[in-house]
Amino acid sequence: MSPETPGQARVEMRAIRKVFPGVRALDDVDLRIFPGEVHALLGENGAGKSTLIKILTGALLRDGGEILLDGRPVDVRSTKEAQGLGISTVFQEVNLIPSMSVTQNLTLGKTGGRFGMISWRRARAEAQAKLSRLGVKIDIDQSLGSYSVAMQQLVAIARALDDETRVLVLDEPTASLDADETAALFGIIRDLKAKGIAIVFITHFLDQVYEISDRISVLRNGLLVGTGPTSEISRQQLIAMMLGRELGEVESAYAAHRKTGEGAEVLTARGLGRRRTLKPFDLTLRAGEAVGLAGLLGSGRTEVAKLLFGAIRSDSGVLSLEAGPVRHASPRRSIVAGMAFCPEDRKAEGLIGELSIRENIVMSMQAKGGWLRKIPRADQERIADEMIRALAIATPDAEKPVSQLSGGNQQKVVLARALASRPRIMLLDEPTRGIDVGAHAEIILLIRRLCDQGLALLVASSELDEVVAASDRVAVMRDREMIGEIASGAVTRDNIIRMIAGKDDGRG
């Protein structure tokens, strides 16, 4: 896409491949990072960012490709080896121990004289030296937990850095910092950059990408989709790179019969919001209509769905269903009121892997019916078989544990479970995350069919084409705010991208 910065790359990753069972996490990814540059690595959840970083820092072993450090091939087999080579990482969560002192956090596992004794005088001097490298002055005898998250972050960076550091990887370092703290961190990043350290900066804040980075690389579904100088990539191009995925023509064809929203209002949110999570928003769902929810990672897509479902409590606004306003929303009440929610993270929130398909499917019906009235086994089997047939779940029988199904089929079980309780409103968060293209098309088709049967749908997705293909209207999210709605006539990729890019439209 652009000319390379001249000179020898500090790190060159060539044709890196990594395969997890059933998933190609990285496919021939190339990445070059130069001394004294801040290289922003971008991509949605599951794009392969963390896998790539873990391979660079020795936390994962690559299945193919090679890594060159200052032109010499290296084999990084553990984080310790990576550190020995001068590659340091600061992970998203501050991986330190808040109950221990700053000194202990900076020197744990690194000091020790004869017989495993520790000289605190030496340790304190060492800690002081590490902090002064970043120009940080704090009382190193206090416990780390007594400092702000921003300071803890700096201590984590100080721990990662030493005189040998050549590459510093910062994974979402600003996720929990406010504006001033971020500015302070950027000051330090610029200092490190001036010292010739190559910095990899992972973030989902586009403003910060343009503020601090020299070059950008974008990953999507395990592929490198673009790389180049920050000054040459516009915001719109960047968003298109991150969200775009060309779907087959079949899927785009569904977009043809887009409805205009004549159905009855089944859910209305007025000024619904939660402090620090989501700014107040208005949203209406109608029977027989699918509303898409588009936005970048961290823009608040999932939060909208969870707020509507009652999985997160709102602290402002009113949520009304057909029966009237909802007080004290909770998942159980929502299910009873005819709502169903398919969460993004199937494993953590959706399915229970050890239980069978049947047990997973009847779970939400059980919640609706109450704990005391057990659903007869025969009914359970009938419903499960019906769903397996209706959604074409590939399994020999309903008793197979869900964990043994493929990703696409697991997702169908999530849908089946939601459908089994005969909901009138369905909230789908990333309905096609981590499933292959064939199953992808099937699920979109399924969504459209559900709509035709009079269900009101909300589809939150990081894949623009999916949103475009599946929904009649699209609500657009940015920085935890619903910034607008695109009416049925105007739902296109470009319109959505333009709205997300918003204020800085023609930049770059």
Binding site: N95, L96, P98, Q104, G109
Partner: protein, 320 residues
């Protein structure tokens, strides 16, 4: 003052307050004689509690302490009958304590089983072993026991430090060095503070876990030795529920049950507070001994609430 000393300071303040209350209520209470007796009478609990402090600091728990004390007692008594010198049998039992603790630690880490269950199994196992060794109370008759009982260091006033108290203070000194001046000590705090972070920071979790239970086993066995020599006998039911007193002493000493925060010195004062409460009630004469347990319970409860409050208000253990 550094925030981490607040729980310890609270413990010491409570100890001094109780001691002064006793002094105000009873003549002769405020003396080195009372202090020396409390130290001697509670030395085995405090020794066991020192080991438990390490285990609790690492985020674990050890319920096998009381049974270990009983088992060490009966074993030493039976070995005495067979003609062993008490020091030789003590050395053997200390080695057994280390190995038994290490085995518990290994099972806890390797099989990823809750320490509560593993050491509960240890509790039953060792108590059963006590009855396998003997079902009777067996005296220890070796001359060394008399010699041990006669050792004492005079304190100013009429008080004395008996040999049990001396052993306790020595083992406390060793524990302080281990906790605060060795890599192992730092690792224990790190594992208890945040296990996953500790692993990422290069701490060998398995080695630390095995070592910490081995150390706990050593201190339990040492408590058993001191108890056996102090009572000059072994009795298969000795030490029942002592693990709970030891845990109480650790908590009263300012160590958080969730791990990572606390100091070994605090445990000394925690144990002394328990001792002071029973001494106060015995001095009174009119209250029955049920009040010892009731007031210990009330105080323990107050301390746990206080810890909760300290944790949330001063960020003693704040995670982001």
């Amino acid at each position: 003052m550094n925030r981490k000393y607040i729980p310890l300071a609270t413990t010491i303040a409570v100890f001094l307050a109780l001691f002064l209350i006793g002094g105000a209520m009873y003549r002769n209470f405020l003396s080195t004689l009372v202090l020396g007796n409390i130290l001697a009478d509670n030395s085995f609990i405090i020794i066991a509690a020192i080991g438990a402090t390490f285990v609790i600091l690492s985020g674990g728990i050890d319920l096998s302490i009381g049974s270990m004390i009983g088992f060490v007692g009966v074993s030493m008594a039976v070995l005495d009958r067979m003609g062993w010198h008490p020091l030789a049998s003590a050395a053997l039992m200390l080695c057994f304590g280390i190995l038994f603790g290490a085995a518990q630690g290994w099972i806890i880490d390797f099989c990823a089983i809750q320490p509560f269950i593993v050491t509960l199994a240890g509790l039953f196992l060792l108590r059963g072993a006590c009855f396998m060794v003997t079902v009777d109370s067996v005296p220890i008759r070796h001359d060394f026991v008399q010699f041990y009982a006669s050792l004492k260091v005079h304190l100013p006033g009429r008080g004395v430090l008996r040999s049990s108290a001396l052993v306790m203070l020595a083992s406390l000194a060793v524990a302080v060095v281990i906790a605060h001046f060795t890599r192992f000590g730092s690792n224990v705090y790190a594992v208890g503070g945040d296990r996953e972070s500790a692993r990422l920071m290069g701490v060998d979790i398995r080695r630390t876990t095995v070592s910490v239970y081995a150390l706990g086993g050593f201190y339990s066995a040492l408590a058993g030795v001191v108890y056996a020599l102090y009572t000059s006998s072994g009795y298969p039911l000795a030490g029942s529920t002592l693990e709970l007193s030891a845990i109480a002493a650790v908590v009263l000493g300012g160590t958080l049950l969730s791990g990572g925060v606390g100091m070994v010195v605090g445990t000394l004062f925690g144990g002394m507070i328990l001792g002071l409460i029973s001494t106060l009630i015995i001095f009174n004469g009119s209250l029955n001994s049920a009040w010892i347990l009731i007031s210990s319970g009330v105080l323990l409860f107050a301390f746990i609430v206080l810890h909760r409050f300290l944790v949330s208000s001063i960020g003693l253990r704040e995670t982001q």
